[in-house]
């Protein structure tokens, strides 16, 4: 099967392979007519690939193979840290294959230019009432067409968002956010079990995610600290504080999503990394290691400079 037109922006009309460490997933991909290979049987990366790792070993193998391969273009989907199920991976793959990469990368360019050219921004639309300022000289993470014109191995998320990350808590946060946002969904990520976190968090967060997907939520933030998450007037901030670990309720990420193509297909009940690129904004707490990294997705929110 030839890759769909949209993804040919990245891979041209050359052969594209789906790589994974789950035979069940690969079987489903083959049924869709896609070229597949099990990562454990490869000595080098295929020239063009989309990789779904269902385990940390497969993720490591992805990088080992990439190091051994001179010419490669690869989109990496770290399924193991989100939801390593065949259903979630197939959902992600189908969304991915329907995306307009050219449009997303082009939108990243204009968003990047806007963020770098201004300091204070108003968030509006979809019930948003918020402001964000970015510190002078703070640089966002962004991916432009020229970054993927030659060899690359990129996490799938990078194609669909421009984001500021507060990685090191000892350093100042590169942005300051205050206001309220309507939340359509959350994503939760923990890269490995952390014995310092309370038991049962995974189940509680799945329950919270399902509630928000069904009923929506209202997130309030003051000076980069989440002060409230309400679903139908019920407060859930204590669960967030427990789940985020020592980084607590302080924001660790502000991002602008640029993926228009998934708006009608998105399922907020699925913990898929593809969801976070949804056009609009998202905020996050936690670092995914000392505690959960939780993204709060607020679609259809516009970000405009305040002059």
């Amino acid at each position: 099967m030839s890759p769909p037109n949209m993804i040919s922006t990245l891979f041209g009309h050359e052969k594209l392979s789906i790589i994974a460490d789950s035979e069940d997933f690969l079987r489903e991909c083959a049924l869709l007519g896609l070229n597949t290979a099990n990562i454990s049987k490869l000595k080098k990366s295929p020239k063009n690939s989309i990789v779904f790792s269902f385990s940390n070993d497969a993720a490591k193998m992805t990088f080992e193979l990439a190091k051994n391969t001179e010419s490669k273009k690869s989109i990496f989907c770290a399924t193991q840290v989100f939801e390593p199920s065949v259903t979630a991976a197939l959902y992600s793959l189908k969304l991915l294959l329907s995306c307009n990469f050219e449009h997303a990368l082009c939108t990243q360019r204009s968003v990047l230019n806007m963020l770098n050219s201004n300091e204070l921004f108003l968030l509006s639309g979809n019930g948003a009432d918020a402001q964000v300022s970015v510190f002078p000289h703070a640089q966002p993470y962004a991916l432009l067409a020229e970054d993927v014109s030659h060899d690359f191995v990129q996490s799938v998320a990078e194609f669909f968002e421009v984001h500021y990350a507060h990685m090191n808590p000892q350093e100042p946060c590169p942005f300051s956010f205050s206001g309220t946002l309507k939340i359509a969904g959350i994503l939760t990520v923990l890269r490995k079990p952390n014995p310092l976190l309370p038991e049962g968090l995974k189940t509680s967060l799945k329950w919270l995610s399902d509630r928000i997907a069904k009923e929506g939520g209202l997130l309030s933030i003051k000076d980069n600290t989440i002060t409230s998450l309400k679903i139908n007037n019920e407060e859930h901030i204590k669960l967030l504080d427990l789940a985020a670990g020592f980084r607590g309720l302080k924001l660790t990420e502000f991002a602008i999503g640029v993926n228009d193509a998934i708006a009608l297909k998105i399922d907020y009940k699925i913990n898929s990394q593809m969801n976070e690129g949804i056009s609009g904004v998202h905020l996050a707490i936690g670092d995914g290691s000392s505690g959960y990294h939780i993204d709060f997705l607020s679609p259809s929110v516009n970000v405009n400079p305040i002059h």
Binding site: T62, R109, N113, L143, V153, S155, E158, H163, T252
Partner: protein, 33 residues
């Protein structure tokens, strides 16, 4: 002579890669012990 004002795009950015991963799980897999 016509004066043309050229507005240059400001494209300073961090691009994910082996040294700068942001929150991309790419990094987490890569650095996992």
């Amino acid at each position: 002579m016509k004066n043309e004002k050229v507005v240059k795009e400001k494209l300073n950015r961090i691009t994910s890669g082996p040294d700068n991963f942001g929150w991309a799980p790419l990094a987490w897999a890569h650095t996992e012990e």
